[in-house]
Symmetry: C2
Subunit: 196 residues, 2 copies
DNA sequence: TAAAAAACTGACTGAGCACTCAGTTTATAA
DNA sequence: TTATAAACTGAGTGCTCAGTCAGTTTTTTA
C-alpha cells in the first residue's frame, strides 16, 4: 500500500499547482515512480483519484479541528471565536496546497457532473461552518457575542471573509498576511455587542 | 465586425459555464455560426480570445462603476459605502456570467504562464478596490467612518467579504442572496466608529 | 514450497482538439 | 467595372492523453 499513498500525495501536489485538467497521468506516474497502469489499478479513473484526495483532506480537517476544539481554550465564546479565526488562517497557510485544491474551480466543475464531488465539497464547507457556528452560538449564550444575527449566518459571513482573505493569499494577488491583524479586528467588530 | 462580437459573446458564455479547457473551438464555432478558421482569423489563439473577453469585461466595469459614482449619492462617505456594497452585490448578480469568469481558476492559471493575464486580473481587482477605497477615504474625512484602519486595508477586507459572498452565490453552494441583509449589517459594523 | 491472489508494468489505442492553409466569398477603393 | 484587401471557410494535420490489457513480479495463504 506504499505506492497508493505516494500516488495520492503526488497527484494532490500536481492538481493543486497545475490543475486537474493540466495534469496528466504520465506526469503523476513519473513523479511517483509507478507505471501509469498502477495508477489505474488503484483508482478506476482520474476523477476517482481526485475524489480520493478530497476525501483524505476532509479527514484531516475533521481531525485537526476537533483537536483544536479539544485543546480547550478557556474563556468566552467571543474569545474562542477569535482563536478560531486565527487558527483557520494559520491552518490555511500551513495546508496551502489542499486549500488550493478547494480554491481552484476544478472540483466545482466536476460537481456539476458528478454528485459525489458535490457531496464532498458541501461536506468540507459544512465542517468549517459548523465549527464557527458552534463558538458563535456559545458566545451568544454567554453574552459575549451580539445576538442580532443568527449564529449560522454570522458563521457564513465570517467564514466567507476569512476564506476570501486566505484565497487572496494563495493567489498571490495581494500579500494577504499583512491583512491578518486588520481582519481579526474586523471580525471582532462583526461579533461584538452593539453599544447603542 | 459582426462575427467577431458574436464569437466574443459565445466564447464568454461557454468559458464561464464550462471552463476554458473544457470548451473547444468547434463548439464556439457551432454556437456562433462561424467556421473554426474564422475564430483563428480574429484571434490568434484560444488564449488570446480569452484575454479579449477579460479586456472587454474590464471596460464594462470601468464604465458601469464610474456611471454609478457619477449618479451622485448624496450623504456621508458611510452612506456612499453602503450604497456601493449594495451596488456591487446587485452588479455581481446581473453580471453573473462575467463574474464566473473571474471566480473560476482558469484566468489565474493562465496568469502563471502569460503575464498579460496577470496584468488584466490585477487591473480588474484594482478597479474594484479603488472604488471602495475612495468612498472609505471620504467617509474617514467627513468623520462617518472609523479611522482605526487605513482606507486601503478596509477596502480590501470589504471587497474580500463581498466578493466571497457573491462567489458563494455563483457556486450555488449556499443561497447567498438570503445573506445580503446580514452582510450589509456586518459591513456597517466594520465601518462604523468605535463607541468606546 | 506450491498455488493463488494482489500489486504492478508499459506499449498500445482511439478519441479529442488547437491550429493551419489553400482556397472562396464579400466589402472597399480606384 | 475591375483590382485589392478583408473576411471567412472547413477539411486536414499532428499532437496529447485517459484508459486498456496481456503479461510479469511480489506477497499472502494453505
Amino acid at each position: 500500500m506504499k505506492k497508493r499513498e505516494k500516488i495520492l500525495e503526488v497527484a494532490a501536489h500536481l492538481f493543486a499547482s497545475k490543475g486537474f485538467k493540466n495534469t496528466n497521468i504520465a506526469e503523476i506516474a513519473r513523479n511517483t515512480g509507478a507505471a501509469e497502469g498502477t495508477i489505474f489499478y488503484h483508482f478506476k479513473t482520474k476523477e476517482e483519484l481526485f475524489l480520493a484526495i478530497l476525501r483524505e483532506f476532509r479527514g484531516s480537517i475533521i481531525r485537526d479541528f476537533s483537536d483544536f476544539e479539544k485543546s480547550g481554550h478557556l474563556g468566552s465564546g467571543l474569545g474562542k471565536a477569535e482563536h478560531l479565526i486565527s487558527f483557520y488562517l494559520s491552518y490555511s497557510v500551513s495546508m496551502e496546497e489542499k486549500f488550493l485544491l478547494l480554491h481552484r474551480h476544478d472540483a466545482y466543475e466536476l460537481s456539476e457532473v458528478n454528485p459525489l464531488f458535490r457531496e464532498e465539497l458541501e461536506a468540507i464547507y459544512t465542517c468549517f461552518v459548523d465549527v464557527f457556528d458552534a463558538v458563535i452560538a456559545e458566545g451568544q449564550r454567554d453574552g459575549s457575542i451580539s445576538e442580532e444575527i443568527t449564529p449560522r449566518k454570522v458563521a457564513m459571513i465570517l467564514f466567507a471573509l476569512v476564506d476570501s482573505v486566505s484565497r487572496l493569499n494563495t493567489y498571490r494577488l495581494y500579500d494577504a498576511e499583512s491583512l491578518f491583524k486588520e481582519l481579526l479586528m474586523s471580525c471582532k467588530r462583526i461579533l461584538r455587542k452593539s453599544t447603542r
